[in-house]
Structures are given as C-alpha cells and as structure tokens.
Amino acid sequence: MNENPEIGLEDFAVSSPGAMAWRRLKLNRAALVGAAVLAALYMTALFGSFISPYDPAARDYGAPNHPPTLPRFVDEYGKFRMRPFVYGMKMTDPVSQRWEYDFSRKYPLRFFVPSEPYKMWWVIPMRTRLTGVDLPGVLALFGRDSVGKDVFSRVIEGGKISLSIGLVGITVSLLIGMLMGSLAGYFGGWWDVAIMRVVEFLLSIPSLYLIIALRAYFQTQGVFGIGGSQVNSSQMYLIIVVILSLIGWAGQARVIRGMVLAIKETDFVMAERALGASTLRIITRHILPNTMSYVIISATIAVPGYILGEVALSYLGVGIQEPQVSWGIMLEDAQSLSAISNSPWLLFAPASLIFITVFAFNFLGDGLRDALDPKHRR
C-alpha cells in the first residue's frame, strides 16, 4: 500500500494552529522586542523592592530636587575606572534649589548593600538592596522630588500598581465580557435585549464622565463589602480596577456576542447539540475557544487603556491616593509649571515609562494580530 515505506504519517509535520501562530510571531521582530520589554518591566516591578536603591516613601530633606546623576566609568581626568561611581553634588542656591557637581567627592557604586529592613512581597523580611552608594552620596538615577524622595525607586514602586492594574483590569472585564457576550449571543431573546441595552448605555456615555461618577459612588458604598465610608488607599486600587472593568466589558461583550451568533450556527455546534451535549459544555468547550484569538488580541491591545485609565484618574486627583505611588500620581506631582521647568525629570521619568509600556503593548498586540488572525492583512 505504502509505496515509500520509509515515510510514515508521523514524518509529516502536523502543525496545530497555535504552533503556526507561534512560528509567525517569532518572525515578527517588533512583537518580540515588545514582549521582551514587557517581560523586563514586569520582572522589575515584581522584584521592585529589592532593585530600588531607596525606600520610595523615604524623604531626604538634604536633597530636594536633586537632579539625576547616572553612574560613570570615566572620571574628571579622563581615567577609566572599573567600578562605576557617581559624583557628589552640592546645592548652590537654596532658593531656586540649583545643584552643581562637586568633583572632589566620588562615591563608588556598591552592590548588595545593607539597608533599613523592608518586606519583600509583604512577607519576606529583607535587609539588602541591589545597589547603593555610601552616605552622604546620593544615587539619584532619575533625580529626586521636592521632598527628596528618590524618583527611580518611586517609578518602580508606581510600576507595581500601574502595570498590575492593566492585567487585573483586562482579566476582570474580559471575564464579564465573555460571560455577557455568550449569554446574549447564545440564548438571544430577552437575554440579548437586556444585555445589549446595558452595553449601549455604557457605550453612549463618554467614558471619563461615567468613571468620575462611579468613582464617587464606590467611595462611599464600597465594592463587595470592601471599602465603605472609610476607603484606604489600597482599597482604592480595587475600586479603580472594578470601575475600569465595569465600563470596559461593554465593547468586548458586543464583539463576542457577534462571534457567538455566527459560531452557534456552524455544523460542529449543531452536531454537538444533536449528540446531546449540555449547553454549558457547548459554550465552554466549543464556542468560547473559537473566540480565543480575538480575546487574546483584544486583551493585548486593551491593556494600555487600563493603564492609561489609572493614569488619567490619578492625574485628575480621583484615582490612587497618597501614600501609594502610581505613574499617574507621579504625573500629578509634576504638573505644576515650576516643577516642569525646574525639575523636568519629575515629568519625564514616569512619562517615558508609560510611553514605553504602551508602545510595547501596541507592538506585541500588532504582532499577535498578524500571527493569530490569518485573515487580517496589513
């Protein structure tokens, strides 16, 4: 039967759609760069407490508005040094808080330096940080703010909130969107009418106006019994995630409903129904998996929306509250004209991080769309 006995069926490469998508994604350099940048950002946030050289909340009244100083390898005589160092700086004008280099003082960069005790991931007690310089030197990679808090450490600390809000927000809103979309699409009738009216309602209020109103409501009423009249800053985090998700699911639900409407008429769903499969099984095993490529793409593209939502709210003063730090809060600190013109690093440190994150997500999302959706041509 087999004319060429050496070649068996197992010798043919059988690629699953997932493997094919992965191969296409690997060819897309921009998407890979995006993914790598995101991995680095999230890892930095995860190990943030260890990586940041200072306690992000610690004030240093000796170094207000200290400009950024990057570690150098070449000293003032042009001599190369193996161990990088930072120059000391002295304040020349206490009124305008101008700083100048003091070339007589050098502080070598040290690794695994002892520090004041802190907790890693809220549990592990630690007394070591990754880098630091000897006192009274200042390792201000991104500068200091007006009360001498280290901006680099604050950017890392803020990243924990800003980066995680994106992931948590998209997860919650996708879950709601998938549930509502498949209910409306699969069952139709009253389910469809009711859910789609809510979706239309949510989509016809300009989102920021609705977010502002919801934010005020949850502050007093709390979410799922958490919060209430006394909302502390970490509960505010939860409230913001819930608000962003409560608004974000509408768009997802509308698209998923459309897809479900098409998929439920296909032959394989008909066959499954004829075999007597339960509705739950049909939806979870056959219909939702077929919406997966859309879900993955739209999740990647939507994450920046949540990050920016937090930034917008915190910037307007109704988001994350001090003493917690987020990139939005840092922007709010930087909004005054004097801050912008005298210590622009307060603006540019969080701004560039936000920009890089959004850029990386867009790159990755674009690549995923090309990889997962063969019909989509650019």
Binding site: L208, A213, T220, V311, A312, Y315, I340, A351, N362
Partner: protein, 323 residues
C-alpha cells in the same frame, strides 16, 4: 433621511433619561453634599443650614430631586441652577460646551487633514520609505497618551515661550482693539490643545486610511478603470478613494467618544475652559445640577456625533439607505 434622523433622536430620549437617572443616583450616594463644608463650621447655625438645604431642594430623596429636575428640563428646558455660581446651569455650561465643541472640531479637522493624505501616500507607496515613515508616525501617535502629550506640550510652551501654556484667552483679551485680534488670540491658544487632541485620531485615521485604500485598490473596478486607460492618479483619487473613505466615516462616529474623553483630560491639563474642566470642578464641589447637565450634554454630543457620521455615510455612498 429625515425619518432616520427623527427615529434616532427619538430613540436617544430614553437613553438620556437613563443617563440622568444614573448620574443623580451616583451623585446622591457620594460622601457629603454641597453644604458639607459649611456644616463643619460651628459658627453657622443649624437653622441656616436647614434653610439652605431646603432652598437648594436637597431635603428630598434623590429620586424626587431627579424627577423635579427632569420635569424642569422637559417642561421649560431649565437645567437647574448652579449652587456655586448662582446662575442658571444653561448659561454656565453653554459657553463651555461651545469651547469643547470648538476644540473637538479643530482637532478633528487637523487629524483628517493630515491623516487622509498621509494614508493615501502610504498606501500608494506601499512598503517604500514614505510608507514606513507614515506608519512610524502613526504608531508613535497611537502610543503617546493624550495626558502625556499635553504635559509635554505644556513643558514645551513653558521652556520656549512660543505658545501660551494654557487657557483660552490672554489676560489682555478684552482690551484687544478688534474682533480680528481677539480671534487671533484664541487661535494662538488653540494650537497646542488641537495638536495634542488631534494626535490620537491622526494615528488611527492614517492606519485605517492606508489599509482601506490598499483593499479597494485590489478591487476589480480599479483594474477595469486602469485597463480602459484611466491614469493611475485618477483611478486612485476618483475610483478607489471614495470607497475607501466609507469605513473612515464610521470610524469618525466611534472616535467621537474617545475625542470627548480625550478633551476631558486635555482641558484639565491645559486649562481649556471646556465641559470636562467644568465637570470635574463641579464634581469636586458637589454642584449637583452642573454635573448632571454636563454628563447629559456630553452624551448628547456623543449621540449627535454618531448621527452625523451616519448622515455623512449616506451622503458619501448612495448605496446606503436607512429604511
């Protein structure tokens, strides 16, 4: 066409009522009210506070306040009084709505005027240098959030002094000699906010325009046109472009929502006296009717924007009939 407009307007009425209901509900379940600050002051008597509560109509449950307000809106077109400014809400936010509308209009024009030619160039010269540059610009514009761009614009204005750092008018506006000078003054203040708000739309429109045109250029009628001797230029501009514009107009309707939310932020960063800025101020001081009217107005603008997109779509494409 007229029937479409009427039907859409009628359909939006229950939606607007629902929006105002939700706004009132949410605002009444928030901590404190407009008099909260006065209550803390021991020098202010309880009788006075009670009288004030009654005068402002806040002594009723929220749904009564809402119904009364709604009745006023329907019956007399009265949006209520601002607690803070003690003037009718309509005259307070009327000018603000116009300012937001002006900003939205200029930034939309800015975005379209650049995006459509840029998209055409990118599509016609697919994968050439011009296309790559256009794509890079679009990608950059898409990734810079409006808040950031606004802050950087303010930084730019503060450092160079080339543009005003915020607001809509100079301090000397009312002393300017002629209407022309005043218009120029507002125009100078408009440049940066327009640029900031237009950037986001610019990126989306360029990418969309490019892929639409690429798709229509593959169509048989373009090949036919080329085959019967129409110049490439005419085939693109007269035959393909018009069909490629259709999805853009639909996109305009969707983008209007983003435009309003973007304007909300840009107004707050750049001190543009528009609806978004008024809303957040009124929200902070719990100026109930101002917030309710602002949310309502923003929703009305959104609905009108979508309606406008539908009308434009029908005008551009005779095949589309809404019946």
């Amino acid at each position: 066409m007229l029937r479409l407009v009427l039907r859409r307007l009628l359909e939006s009425v229950p939606l607007l009522i629902a929006i105002s209901l939700v706004t009132f509900f949410l605002l009444f379940h928030t901590p404190g009210d407009f008099l909260a600050a006065l209550r803390l002051d021991p020098k202010i008597s309880t009788e006075f506070l009670n009288r004030e509560t009654e005068r402002l109509g806040l002594n009723h449950p929220w749904h009564i306040v809402w119904l009364r307000w709604l009745w006023g809106v329907v019956r007399h077109g009265d949006l209520g009084h601002s607690f803070t400014y003690k003037i009718p809400v309509a005259s307070l936010i009327g000018a603000r709505v116009c300012n937001t509308f002006l900003l939205a209009l200029t930034s939309t024009l800015f975005a379209w005027a650049i995006a459509v030619p840029l998209g055409i160039i990118a599509a016609v010269r697919q994968n050439k240098l011009a296309d790559r540059i256009a794509s890079a610009v679009a990608f950059l514009g898409l990734s810079i959030p409006a808040v950031l761009l606004a802050l950087v614009a303010v930084y730019f204005a503060a450092v160079t002094g080339a543009f005003p750092t915020g607001g809509m008018r100079s301090d000397t506006y009312f002393m300017l000699p002629s209407a022309w000078e005043r218009m120029k003054d507002i125009g100078r203040h408009l440049i940066l906010p327009t640029f900031v708000l237009g950037m986001g739309g610019l990126a989306i429109y360029t990418r969309q325009m490019r892929s639409n045109l690429l798709e229509t250029l593959q169509a048989d009628y373009v090949r036919t046109a080329l085959a019967k001797g129409v110049s490439y230029r005419a085939a693109v501009m007269r035959h393909a472009l018009r069909n490629a514009l259709n999805p853009m107009i639909t996109l305009f309707g969707f983008a209007f929502s983003d435009l309003l939310s973007g304007a909300f932020l840009v107004e707050n960063v750049m001190a543009w006296p528009g609806l978004g800025r008024t809303t957040i101020e009124a929200y902070m001081s719990k100026d109930l009717f101002v917030v309710a009217a602002s949310v309502l107005m923003a929703s009305v603008m959104l609905i009108l924007g979508n309606l406008l997109a539908d009308i434009l779509l029908a005008l551009n494409d005779p095949r589309i009939r809404y019946e």
